[in-house]
């Protein structure tokens, strides 16, 4: 899949951003289909069956949220949302509506390509329905089957909740996970607003795994949205 003939649908009304992405994604070996409007985008998605949709949240004819919902009715094609800073609420609702990840404008090419790669990889893996049982980044390695986490060869002890949180991040490595998603998965439905649990446990995980917890390399906070495990530090 990452052999780079992936088909990407770009739904964006700003002509200059389309120009920039056309060149950039083309150079990187992706096939780009463009749509200016939401309705047009949905129609093209139906006929072209893209591997990934890049969706601008500020479409003139349609709420980005509605677009994500309607697309999700019949396909699980990953959606990467483009939005301005300060639209945290919109991002969260787009993610809740089924979008996979987001990028804040202005964004750099490196960041964009990294997000695309992650989204395609997860989509690919989803269809195979298998997760590698071992995983490593930096000096940290995780063995999900044996439930062993080591840092620089030393085993790190996580409490059950810390472990559960960490595993969710690992399984979605590279992708943003909203605070609500984490709270629901670890603590249950009733806890989706109790974000202080997250603050405390994430802090503890960082202190156990990061070299400098105040400047984390792997467990990244997305302010106002959630968390992301960044396995490849150079990508950001």
């Amino acid at each position: 899949m990452t052999s780079n003939q992936a088909k990407i649908l770009l739904v964006e009304d700003e002509q200059q951003i389309r120009r920039y992405l056309r060149v950039t994604l083309g150079t990187n070996g992706y096939k780009l289909i463009e749509a200016e409007r939401g309705e047009e985008g949905l129609a093209i998605a139906g006929t072209e069956k893209p591997d990934l949709v890049i969706l601008d949240l500020g479409l003139p004819d349609m709420d980005g949220l509605d677009f994500a919902k309607r697309l999700r009715e019949w396909t699980s094609t990953p959606i990467l949302v483009l939005s301005a800073r300060g639209q945290e609420e919109d991002k969260i609702s787009a993610l809740d509506a089924g979008a996979d990840d987001y990028l804040t404008k202005p964004f750099g090419t490196g960041e964009l390509l990294a997000r695309i790669r992650v989204a395609l990889r997860h989509a690919d893996r989803g269809s195979n329905d298998s997760t590698d049982s071992s995983f490593s980044f930096g000096n940290i390695s995780v063995d999900l089957a044996k439930r062993i986490i080591t840092k620089a060869g030393e085993e790190v002890h996580l409490t059950p909740i810390e472990y559960k949180l960490f595993v969710i991040l690992v399984k979605h490595a590279g992708k943003v996970i909203t605070q609500r998603q984490l709270l629901r998965e670890v603590w249950g439905q009733g806890y989706s607003e109790e974000n202080h649990y997250l603050r405390v446990y994430m802090g503890q995980i960082r202190h156990k795994l990061e070299d400098d917890p105040a400047r984390p390399k792997y467990i990244i906070t997305e302010p106002g949205v959630g968390y992301r495990l960044r396995p490849d530090h150079t990508e950001g």
Binding site: P160, K164, W187, R199, R206, R215, T221, P223
Partner: protein, 549 residues
């Protein structure tokens, strides 16, 4: 009452004169009577005094002038005596009662001027139109024992009754409302006379526009007066006597009019002051906009010029440029656009913060995490610069808006990066004091010039020592506004050994939720395998508190 006492006094005087008539001359007896009349006139007014005058002449004739015990008059001289006596008695009566009236008038005038003075004084100490009205209503109500209602026009111009007593408004009938409207439109007062409310129902018998003279016979039950300033009519004042037996006279009307005018003038003054303040704010806004425009035009033009130059060079010289040159130009474009993006971000942030009550969303935050995510955003600008972070272990979670507070640290860090040499370190520390957390961002730059510790937090302010630097001078103003929204304080000062310290005092205003882990920290993962859901449940914290605000 007065008549009875008058009769009694004259009777006593008559008895006295009967006993003394053989010793006293007639003229002296007359003097006794006159003295009594003066007393009666001064004490009991005109009516009793006239009665006493006539009685005394008759008694004098009957008892003192021979032939005694008959009204028969002997001789023309006696007739003259009686006539003169009656004339003088009536004269005394008239003069005395005039003096009495004048004294009473003077007393009333004094009372009223005192009342007016009291009202003026209280009005002068009162701010705001509504408060002014309340003062006036209170005074008039107390002075006249009357029900006072004020009608004010609402936005659409319809008059609405206002009173401190809502029951009074309820009772305001349609007819009174119509009167009020008429007064408001014509700016002329109206007096109404109602039938005695024995039947329990007040009906308006008469309603007179007072643009013509007040008929002396008119005793009004209600008055409607315009609250008339020099330029503006603010509303209508209704005064209705509480006691139906009492009515309002012309002088009452004049007095109430004076009070109403006084109130209206004060209201006019208040509204002029308000307008002035608004105008002042507008001017300040205008000045701010101008400062902003000149800042924008200068500070955005410079990076734009660089970007235009560098990119056109890339296009036009693509064959002659070496790869390293191309890279250099692309680098310049990237840096300058990042710079512009930072300027625009601050501009938007400031506008948002100033556009009224910001939607601040407080949730529990970890200081370390917020600092970390701010640092991540300036990672590229930091380059190899050393950042030393030392945070107390016992820092509590703080209730703050994640995105806004991250911007505070972002701005402080960008400020350090911009104004200090690239090889100098940045230090961040956070300590818990009793009821607050103090977070400090410190650099080793030039420090802060004396006297600029406060002004650097002002919008568009740029330190004298950094006059050439680009930027709107908004970053620190934004920090101050955001920290203030959280009830905190931000300050800056120079640091011993060179550099500056920016310190944020953040109140711990609520107890952070209990986050003690009931989970067994040493439980090995492998054994917790099947116990994960339980562990998750056991981590429920008993003393849950609301998050957010």
């Amino acid at each position: 009452m007065g008549f009875a006492i008058g009769f009694l006094i004259i009777s006593v005087a008559t008895l006295l004169s009967i006993f003394t008539r053989q010793y006293l001359d007639h003229s002296n007896t007359i003097m006794i009577y006159l003295l009594c009349i003066v007393y009666i006139a001064s004490r009991f007014g005109k009516g009793p005094s006239i009665l006493a005058s006539i009685l005394s002449v008759l008694a004098f004739d009957f008892f003192c002038i021979p032939p005694h015990y008959t009204l028969q008059i002997a001789g023309t001289q006696s007739i003259l005596t009686f006539l003169i006596m009656l004339f003088i008695a009536l004269l005394i009566t008239t003069l005395t009662s005039q003096v009495q009236d004048q004294a009473q008038m003077a007393r009333m005038r004094e009372q009223r001027s005192e009342a007016l003075h009291a009202l003026s004084q209280e009005l002068s100490l009162t701010r705001g139109k509504t408060n002014l009205l309340h003062v006036a209503i209170k005074h008039i109500r107390n002075l006249f024992d009357a029900k006072v209602i004020v009608y004010l026009p609402d936005i659409s111009g319809t008059l609405v009754a206002c009173s401190e007593n809502s029951a009074e408004i309820q009772n305001a009938e349609k007819s009174t409302h119509a009167n009020a409207s008429q007064v408001f439109d014509t700016k002329r007062a109206i007096a109404t006379v109602v039938s005695t409310p024995e039947s329990g129902k007040m009906t308006v018998l008469e309603s007179l526009s007072l643009d013509t003279a007040w008929k002396p016979s008119l005793k009004a039950d209600s008055l409607f007066l315009p609250l008339q300033g020099n330029k503006e009519t603010f509303g209508v004042l209704q005064v209705t006597m509480n006691n139906p037996a009492r009515t309002l006279t012309h002088s009452d009307f004049e007095f109430i009019q004076t009070l109403a005018n006084q109130t209206a003038l004060c209201m006019e003054l208040a509204s002029l002051t308000e307008q002035n303040q608004e105008a002042q704010l507008k001017i300040e806004g205008e000045q701010l906009r101008n400062a902003l425009l000149s800042s924008v035009s200068h500070d955005l033009r410079t990076p734009l010029a660089t970007i235009t130059g560098a990119s056109s060079s890339l296009l036009e010289n693509k064959n002659t440029l070496k790869d390293t040159d191309k890279e250099e130009l692309a680098q310049v474009i990237l840096e300058e656009s990042e710079h512009m993006s930072q300027l625009v971000r601050n501009l938007l942030e400031m506008t948002k913060l100033e556009s009224g009550p910001t939607n601040i969303k407080k949730t529990w935050q970890n200081v370390e995490e917020i600092i970390g995510s701010a640092l991540a955003r300036v990672e590229r600008q930091l380059g190899d610069r050393r950042v030393q972070i030392s945070l107390d272990d016992d820092l509590p979670l703080l209730a703050m808006d994640e995105v806004l507070m991250q911007n505070v640290f972002l701005n402080l860090l960008e400020n350090c990066i911009k104004y200090t040499p690239a090889n100098t370190p940045i230090e961040i520390d956070a300590k818990r004091h009793d009821s607050q957390v103090v977070i400090r961002v410190m650099d080793r730059g030039k420090g802060i010039r004396k006297g600029e510790e406060d002004s650097i937090f002002t919008k568009f302010y740029r330190s004298q020592s950094n006059a050439k630097q680009q930027g709107f001078g908004l970053g620190l103003a934004i920090c101050k506004a955001i920290v203030a929204l959280h009830g905190g304080k931000i300050s800056a000062r120079s640091r011993d050994g060179g550099g500056s310290i920016f310190s944020i005092e953040f109140p711990i205003d609520r107890n952070p939720p209990l986050t003690e882990m009931t989970e067994d920290k040493n439980a090995p993962l492998k054994q917790a395998d099947s116990a994960l859901p339980e562990a998750a449940r056991s981590a429920r914290i008993e003393n849950r508190q609301e998050t957010g605000s």
